[in-house]
Assembly symmetry: C2
Homo-oligomer: 126 residues x 2
DNA sequence: GCAAAAATAATAATCATTATCACTTTTATG
DNA sequence: CATAAAAGTGATAATGATTATTATTTTTGC
């Protein structure tokens, strides 16, 4: 990977955002700083960064795709109302990969664990 | 929900398939029996059945959407080579919802837990 | 400095899914 | 049984997210 201003900005934008933004959200945020930025560039770089394990791709339950700069083991909670993505610490269920191996013989390389419900913020306004 | 031949066939097709097919796969399978069946009808019915909790929608890690007739608590293992979806029994990690609640205060209504790796069948042909 | 490799912006193309709509089937009721 | 309202269907157009293409620009090792 060669250096590029665009990639640096895209990564910075993701890292500054706690909300696990989508490609489109990153596009709009980053364009404030670099109006010439192209949507295709955002997609290209996010996928590239994910392939190189610099960031992580999250497939949400509603089919939307979010990105996460946090590479440590953890899970996600996705609000069914506002679609925000929250982090759930790994110690809720550590060592799942080993348990799957023991039970099924299947070797887990990666996992995507998301819980679904209404977040505390949205519950307030019910 | 009123009765319809099409919905009955779509459900039967899903139940007879162990492989957690996609909408398109169900479309092609069911058309063998009812060639006039429309793709839109398949999508409409699968979503309707999922909303009514007769079947379950699975969002795979690669973004593809599969359907599952098994409503019991269980997880999935998705092969990164052949994209088949396997079942992993719930007792690998029971009571996750309660653990999330205890740790984060977030109320889990549903979850989507998929593990990723290469299945035993694909490993044979490496 | 300069050529090769990689990246970009803009936009066209793709692909899964959903919306629309004229028509048909189901079903409750008299 | 007749019938009308509600729900469902098939065909296809529309949508929306993502990817491919391409001419041009940047980066980087020598």
């Amino acid at each position: 990977m060669k250096y590029s201003k665009q990639r640096e900005l895209i990564l910075k934008t993701l890292q500054e955002n706690v909300i696990h933004p989508t490609a489109d959200e990153i596009y709009h945020l980053a364009r404030k700083e670099m109006p010439s930025l192209s949507l295709a560039t955002v997609y290209r770089n996010l996928n590239q960064l994910a392939e190189n394990h610099v960031i992580r791709k999250i497939e949400s339950l509603d089919g939307s795709v979010h990105f996460d700069h946090n590479l440590c083991n953890h899970y996600h909670f996705i609000c069914t109302k506002c679609h925000k993505v929250y982090d759930v610490p790994y110690d809720v269920a550590p060592d799942l990969a080993n348990k799957v191996l023991a039970k099924t013989g299947l070797w887990v390389e990666n996992f995507d664990i998301s819980f679904k419900g209404i977040c505390q913020n949205c519950k307030k306004f019910n």
